[in-house]
Amino acid sequence: MDQHEDTELTALIKAQAKYYEAPPSLRDRISASLDRAKAADTAPKPSRWAAWRQGWGMGLGFAFGAILAVGIMFFSGMPGQQDRIVAQVIDGHVRSLMVAHLSDVTSSDQHTVKPWFSGKLDFSPPVQDLTAQGFPLVGGRLDYIDERPVAALVYQHRLHTINVFVWPVRANAQTLLDSASRRGMNVTAWKDNGMQFWAVSDLNVKDLQRFSQLLRTQPKR
């Protein structure tokens, strides 16, 4: 192979081979996920507020607050308690990904995951494997939401992790919100058989809804 032929081939590749440019949506996606890392990094409320203020500047911070307030009013059906749970399940989800503490019991076998919870919780969460439907079960762990220990079931869809938090419905429970979206995270909630389910993921809304439909319609074990 002489030098000349190499030069020719290089020219051919440079002229003809496709250079794939990143779509603008990818930049946004990455910025959003880095923002989440930032938000999770500045953990407790006051310092997060401080970081926001620092990042956005005072004025922007106020504008943001105003928009948020209007948004909450607009979301008239959503009571404050539900709102708090949404924030908690998203935090739980992000934390599970950040500290590489996704599961205490790692198994795709529902008959391994379900018994693991017994003795750790005062209820037994329904555990289903959805591998055949494209949402393999990865494992389970304990988490703490709404002032009580809850079961967290971990599923995977392509590269997206889905956390499903499960705990019994409170006696005086209000109706659950259907779905919400924060900082690029989607949350969907439902009640079934005395349990409440909160699924959270950075997966798109459509696939997350499909996933929750699957969980609802699968025969319970």
Binding site: L12, A17, K18, Y20, A22, R27, L34
Partner: protein, 178 residues
């Protein structure tokens, strides 16, 4: 730490196109490539502290590349030999290349066909595809490619030579065989 994330974001996003181009060539699917880049960037953030002033681009690309290879290994398709064997993988091409070498005009004949060039590059096993993309499309130096692929610079040169030979062969293959 938050300041560090901001710094990382500003620096890393300037290499977004390079990262995506490499991932897109390696996994050959735009959606998977986007997932790969996002995952790689988050992983890179974790180890950003250990970078300490070395050049960011090859370092970041090596993380993108490793992320892609992990995906390729767990999504192995039947038609793709990923367990890479330098001798086995290149000998078939070399035999064909010996025949092709006597026919220099053939290269020129197909020069116009960009689709054909893309297909030919895509048909190469990942390590060869990768070295071509890094060298010809990203203009990385041998030393930088060595960092990205975690191989000695000497190996980069020989792999690049083989990749070029294989590409020539692939370019000469009639379309009907593909």
């Amino acid at each position: 730490m938050t300041e560090q994330i901001r710094q990382f974001e500003a620096a890393a996003l300037t290499h977004l196109n390079a990262a995506y181009n490499l991932a897109r060539w390696l996994v050959r699917d735009e959606h998977v490539a986007q997932d790969m880049v996002q995952e790689a960037f988050l992983r890179a953030l974790k180890y950003y502290g250990s970078l300490r002033g070395s050049d960011m681009r090859p370092w970041l690309l090596s993380i993108v590349r490793n992320t892609c290879y992990t995906w390729l290994q767990s999504n192995k398709r039947g038609d793709e030999a990923l367990e890479f064997d330098e001798d086995r993988d290149s000998s078939a091409y070399e035999a064909a290349f010996d025949r092709a070498e006597n026919n220099p005009e053939a290269l020129l004949l197909h020069k116009q066909e960009s689709a054909r060039v893309n297909l030919a590059i895509e048909s190469l096993p990942p390590p060869f595809r990768e070295v071509l993309v890094l060298r010809e499309l990203e203009d990385l130096s041998y030393e930088e490619i060595a960092v990205v692929m975690s191989i000695p610079a000497g190996t980069v040169m020989s792999r690049l030579a083989r990749a070029r030979a294989m590409l020539r062969t692939a370019l000469l293959r009639p379309l009907s065989e593909e």
